[in-house]
Symmetry: C2
Subunit: 439 residues, 2 copies
């Protein structure tokens, strides 16, 4: 028997799992601060939903884990957290609006596995359903930005655009009808460059005059304000331009305007976007999420006509970047890991007593005692292999004195303290960590 | 298109999801306090693992979601959190021992759905791998008991037994070989009663003399101590008796002895248990988890020879019981939900400013502003529908005075306070909640 994980999936062993959990916790706490509420939906859905025309369509079968249950019902592991949300909205039309929900969980795609890409991965989504206000879009952006900031990212930004602007300019000024095909190419500008886009457009039999117009449009650059001014001058008050202006205006109120960069080539692959679109980019051009407004999707799958917008963060990608850049080391910790060693196995019950007291009295202290009848040296080796913060040593002398040896494993310091003093010390260091967290 | 969840699965809408999340968080924090570390494994596994002989065998196919990926690999959604752990151990033989891990996640079984039973459900497992010490068993029990206590359960208990005792008495004193068959029947004693067990044993062609002996054995009752004394007197120092004594002795050190009840009919269905077995029972006979020692399972699937023990809590079951008994109402909350209303939509930017300040300065405050251009009455209705704790009202007058109306939605009180005073008030109520949590 082989003991591998299925192809494209992986285990997270304790050290990594604790780090991933931390990411999930931080993002969750930020999402909740912004008033988003959690929902849990099943890990698989009816294939009818996953392949709905408004979403990815029948072709999705090649990209997901598709299976049948024993009653021959067609099912599939969910490939995102949006389609389940859309189903929830369609089946709960009476739910108070706006419906601000977050979901942080796993999704599956049957891609070819590659570096930083697994078939099973984590996403964290915020969506606002039932509000057409641009502030709904801004809130999703703000929650995303603050999440990244709390995780320790500094030079990330959100590329923004508005599909309406591009569509309107393509149709009216550039004079083009087969927009969808062109969109797929211009979306690749960052990857394949000017020449690449031109070549693709030529392949699509678009005439050179139109291509020139398209490239001119894509070349509009500068600060956010100057892009808006240039657009107005060149194309007039096109659809969606005010939305983009409002987006920037309200982003300022949320203190997030500096994170936003208009990118007219951003249209995003999915056909269901109807307005603002976003792409989250970490320094160095690593995309780690995106989203936008999808006002027609709920209706398209057969639900009520209802506006919606949202962003999905690629948690697994973010996790890999944080790991590679050693960003976990500087995240504040609010736990203290302690091993309570005994000098003689007869004293194990005393060590257990100490652990019981710490568990009851000292918040955030995670502690354990020997389970292997090991001698002190072996216990210390094990504690070291776990990477605990402190070791408390319980010996006959310590018991008599009522003072225990406290070894600070990080600072390589040793002290003799009463149990009450140890608790105080843990609480104090907890507090200072808590403070550094707030700042 | 239908918008149902797949058969046997369900959604958790915000109110329920927040409650379930709370259960998951509380259990996690207790598991961590006891020094258990998290691992994450994929939601599906190779069918070879799921159907391994040491585990549930080939027949498991009828009880799980089985499917093939596009390369015809046989897979299945995991039906528990133990087999993935066993795989992890088998593939990481070098991992420091004891390996104390917890996992809190979803599993799937293709049962007939019924009340309180879904095909998708949550489990919370603690396991200690690599230690034969009875304290490892006790730690799993202690972590389980403290979890239930923190969730607010009062009259629950853990039924305990030791397979070695039953096996040894059946083989030596009762003189029986086909133990496994008999085990299946005696395990049902609580459900089908004496007569039921007798009838089943008769059906299995066990002679009446043996049945009398079995029933006599099962009738041994009384306090834990008296059961141990009776067993010793009647059957001599049988295998496993000392383990059961030690279990009770160390449970005392952990303050959990009062939760344990020896039940000689408890053997648990799974064949892989080798020593102590546990079953968690809430008041009223609702089973919500169980486990035991499985020293041969890792070896049986082809891994190294390594001891292991653990308990699995049925979180979905626990959640349903808590909901039905309105236990969530008395759980301490460490968040304050606030809606910041505006008197006039021109003041929305000011409301956003207030929300930004609260998010930055007041920990645990979850706040939101209007996204629908609603008038004040409609905003208050919406805030009410969300069940927020407070509403802050931002009006022209409030802005001039620098004092906002703070409506306490639970107490139906109103106050005019500066933003700093509001933050202080939230912090204070947070603190008092924090305190009540510790006590």
């Amino acid at each position: 028997m082989k003991f591998q994980t299925p192809k494209g999936t992986r285990d997270f062993m304790p050290e990594e799992a604790a780090k991933l959990q931390k990411v999930l916790d931080i993002v969750r706490s930020v999402f909740e601060k912004y008033g988003f509420a959690p929902i849990f939906t099943p890990m698989f859905e009816d294939f009818g939903l996953l392949s709905a025309k408004g979403g990815l369509g029948e072709a999705v079968k090649n990209e997901i884990y598709y299976f049948k249950d024993k009653a021959d019902r067609e099912l599939g592991l969910r490939f995102d957290l949006t389609m389940p949300l859309v189903r929830v909205i369609a089946s709960n039309p009476q739910i108070p609006k706006p419906f601000k929900r977050y979901a942080i969980s796993r999704v599956w795609r049957y891609d070819q596995p590659q570096a930083m890409r697994y078939r099973e991965f984590w996403q964290a989504d915020v969506d606002v359903v039932g509000s057409s206000s641009i502030i709904a879009d801004v809130e999703c952006i703000a929650a995303t930005c603050e999440s990244l900031e709390r995780l320790g990212f500094q030079d990330f930004f959100i590329r923004i655009n508005n599909r309406k602007i591009v569509q309107s300019i393509f149709e009216k000024s550039i004079g083009m009808n087969n927009i969808r095909e062109a969109f797929r190419s211009i979306d690749k500008l960052g990857k394949i460059g000017d020449d690449g886009v031109k070549a693709e457009l030529e392949e699509k039999a678009i005439d050179s005059k139109t291509i020139t117009k398209i490239m001119k449009f894509l070349k509009i650059s500068g600060s956010n304000n100057s892009i808006i001014i240039k657009l107005g001058k060149k194309y007039g008050q096109v659809d969606g331009l005010t939305e983009l202006e409002d987006l920037l205006k309200f982003a300022k109120k949320f203190g997030m305007a500096k994170r936003l960069k208009i990118d007219l080539s951003l249209v995003r692959g999915l056909d269901y976007y109807t307005g603002c679109v976003f792409e989250v980019e970490l320094g160095g051009g690593v995309s780690c999420g995106g989203g936008g407004r999808y006002d027609n999707l709920v209706k398209d799958i057969g639900g009520p006509d209802i506006a919606a917008t949202g962003i999905s963060m690629g948690i697994s990608r973010i996790f890999e970047v944080m790991k590679n850049n050693k960003m976990f080391e500087s995240l504040p910790s609010n736990t203290t890991r302690v091993f309570i060693a005994n000098v003689d196995k007869k004293l194990l019950p005393e060590a257990i007593k100490v652990s019981k007291r710490l568990r009851n009295k000292a918040k955030g202290v995670l502690c354990q005692t020997d389970l292997m009848d090991r001698n002190l040296t072996k216990q210390l080796e094990y504690a070291d292999s776990l990477g605990v913060d402190y070791v408390i040593i319980v010996g006959q002398k310590e018991l008599k004195e009522g003072k225990y040896v406290l070894k600070d494993m990080k600072m390589k310091l040793e002290d003799r303290l009463k149990i009450g003093e140890i608790i105080k010390k843990f609480k104090k260091s907890q507090k200072s960590m808590d403070k550094s967290k707030k700042n």
